[in-house]
């Protein structure tokens, strides 16, 4: 068995990190680019990993930073009127998913994904971490460098917002039927 950093992290977490990234950016090629960037940063800074957190939360924290850097650059490129990209309050607009990824999702889940696009960046991140990645509140708090209370509040607000959004969609659909 190969116990090098790359092989160990790949075997344990690659698919989780990739899924986290692809749900954030909704573009397979871009998620592949960002996953590469995550490894670059991990391999370059592994010696500085102090072990204050688990490797898993450290890896996800790097993935989160890579994704935020991407959205920040995208915001600058698209000339949004932002003095500074604040991912906690801004929406993280991702591109449309590739057709093969769409096929895997139910209509209802597509509506969830669409509603997620209207959440703030921190709400989207928390939903992906807590539900899609199955990370605990403690792990999510560590990755985002928040208190557990903030994670719970953000999750609560996100769920409320998503429910309202989806309810509106249902009501619209009912009108047309």
């Amino acid at each position: 068995m190969n116990d090098s950093v790359f092989h160990r992290l790949y075997d344990a977490y690659h698919q989780d990190v990739f899924q986290f990234l692809i749900y954030l950016v909704k573009n397979r090629t871009l998620a592949e680019d960002l996953a590469h960037e995550v490894y670059v940063r991990v391999l370059r800074s592994y010696d500085q990993f102090a072990g204050n957190s688990s490797e898993k939360t450290w890896l996800f924290a790097i993935a989160k930073n890579v994704a935020i850097d991407h959205f920040r650059k995208q915001a600058v490129r698209q000339k949004h009127s932002l003095d500074f990209f604040d991912w906690e309050t801004e929406q993280l607009h991702s591109t449309t998913p590739s057709p093969e990824d769409v096929l895997q999702a139910s209509d209802e889940f597509m509506q969830v994904q669409s509603a997620l696009e209207h959440c703030t960046g921190d709400q989207k991140m928390v939903i992906i971490m807590r539900y899609f990645q199955d990370l605990s509140i403690a792990e999510t708090a560590q990755i985002l460098d928040w208190t557990e209370a903030k994670v719970k509040t953000t999750q609560h607000r996100a769920i409320k917002f998503l429910r309202q959004q989806l309810q509106q969609v249902r009501e619209q659909e009912a009108k047309w039927q």
Binding site: E32, E37, R44, Q48, A75, E171
Partner: protein, 436 residues
């Protein structure tokens, strides 16, 4: 809360969220590792070397096992499969090394490849003919080249560096220009233009800086990038020996208020100071010296080559774009002084890139200037963009004095491809852009 028949409740939502489709990466581990191997930022990375060492060790173990046991059909087949599987990784390492140290053609030489294989220990026991190896190496090299292009493009997009360095100019030249921002300040921009394009645009001979300006300045969409439509300058620009002459229209926007004149002169400095012209003269259409309204006397020429030594700060445009730019054009006589005060905030337009809590000392030595942080500086504790801006602003400040800089007492040995153990390269210019 009472639910109507169609109401979307939390349970339904949680069910949907908990059953999100699993999206997986379809690439193989080897593919991902190969791409990492071609990334220049990981060229000497020990952990990556560790990742490729193990498969090679596995092969040696397999070979040793074969020596100890009579050759069996099954074990040979297993080893063969393993060899086929591992070959691309080995080739990648070789290719990375070759691309770094030699020209690619050295590796491409099939005869060399054959010799290497002949000299390589124990490869003959595998059931792959030398011709197979050659074919595979060729295919893999093609893949490598393709992969290198992808990685280079990816690195270009993902890199947080904002300045232009010599390494960006292997097949390109730079075009400097000062663009006028919303705050009536000049922002020094550095555009990269491929050699091929310049050769096409100027087929007969190397263009002068003025010819470059006349050709490329109109191609920059200043307004779309958040700048004022400023270029090309109104009036006529012409060369007179080693001078540049600007014949100004009687009525012009450069001489309305003193801030306009300063903006104009700064854009001229940012556009032409790194050129063959020593001075710029300002003339009326009749050839007499132009008199700026702020002055009592007709203007004298402005020196372009006198080195103005600045320190660099951050300018944030309201559209979100960020630039490293000289702070209020304040000049310094020593690099130590310029670097030391980089934490100070002097006005509302330019933001210091060095956080207030980071303290350091500056020492000038023969090779350049050394900044030593008082406390070990862990760049990962900073926002990655801010950390990179701080490093590059210090590099640009040192470069303004024709100096290279070294940063001591930084926890990381490298950052964004900068080797922090040694003196850093002198940037060619700030605010990299590619000519549209």
């Amino acid at each position: 809360m009472a639910m109507t028949h169609n109401q979307f409740d939390d349970d339904q939502l949680e069910h949907l969220l908990n059953n999100a489709p699993k999206l997986s990466d379809r690439r193989s581990k080897e593919e991902i590792l190969n791409r990492l191997l071609t990334d220049a930022r990981l060229q000497d990375n020990a952990h990556l070397q560790g990742a490729i060492q193990q498969p090679i060790d596995d092969e040696i173990t397999a070979q040793e096992q074969q020596h100890g046991n009579p050759p069996q059909q099954e074990s040979t087949e297993t080893a063969t499969k393993k060899k086929v599987h591992k070959w691309p990784i080995f080739m990648s390492v070789a290719a990375v090394f070759a691309l770094t140290v030699f020209t690619g053609s050295t590796l491409l030489n099939h005869n060399d490849t054959k010799i290497d294989q002949a000299n390589a220990p124990e490869t003959s026991q595998y059931s792959i003919s030398p011709d197979d190896h050659v074919a595979k190496s060729s295919i893999n090299h093609d893949k490598m080249m393709e992969s290198n292009n992808i990685v280079a493009e990816h690195s270009r997009i993902m890199s947080l560096r904002s300045s232009v360095y010599e390494e960006d100019l292997t097949d390109a030249v730079v075009f400097h220009i000062g663009l006028a921002n919303r705050d009536k300040k000049s922002v020094p921009m550095t555009y990269i233009i491929p050699n091929e394009r310049v050769a096409t645009d100027f087929p007969k001979k190397k263009p002068t800086t003025l010819q470059m300006y006349e050709k490329y300045a109109p191609q920059i969409d200043e307004k779309a990038n958040g700048f004022t439509n400023y270029h090309p300058y109104k009036g006529e620009l012409k060369e007179k020996g080693d001078k540049l002459v600007h014949v100004l229209p009687k009525k012009n926007d450069y001489d309305v208020a003193s801030a306009d004149t300063k903006e104009y002169l700064d854009t001229l400095q940012d556009t032409f100071s790194d050129s063959e012209y020593k001075d710029v003269e300002f003339e009326n259409s009749d050839g007499t010296a132009y008199k700026f309204s702020k002055d009592e006397e007709p203007s004298k020429s402005m020196t372009l080559t006198s080195a103005n030594h600045f320190n660099y700060y951050l300018y944030k445009d309201e559209n979100g774009a960020e630039y490293l730019s000289p702070d209020t054009r304040k000049t310094f006589s020593t690099v130590t002084e310029a670097l030391t005060v980089m934490r100070n905030k002097n006005d509302d337009v330019y933001v210091p890139v060095v956080p207030e809590n980071i303290t350091y000392s500056v020492k000038e030595v023969a090779e350049g200037v050394i900044v030593t942080f008082d406390e070990p500086l862990d760049l990962t504790t900073m926002d990655t963009v801010r950390a990179t801006q701080m490093i590059e602003a210090m590099m640009l400040t040192a470069a303004s004095f024709e100096q290279q800089i070294r940063l001591d007492n930084v926890v990381q040995e490298s950052w964004e491809g900068f080797d922090l153990k040694n003196f850093l390269p002198k940037p060619v210019g700030a605010n990299k852009r590619y000519m549209p």
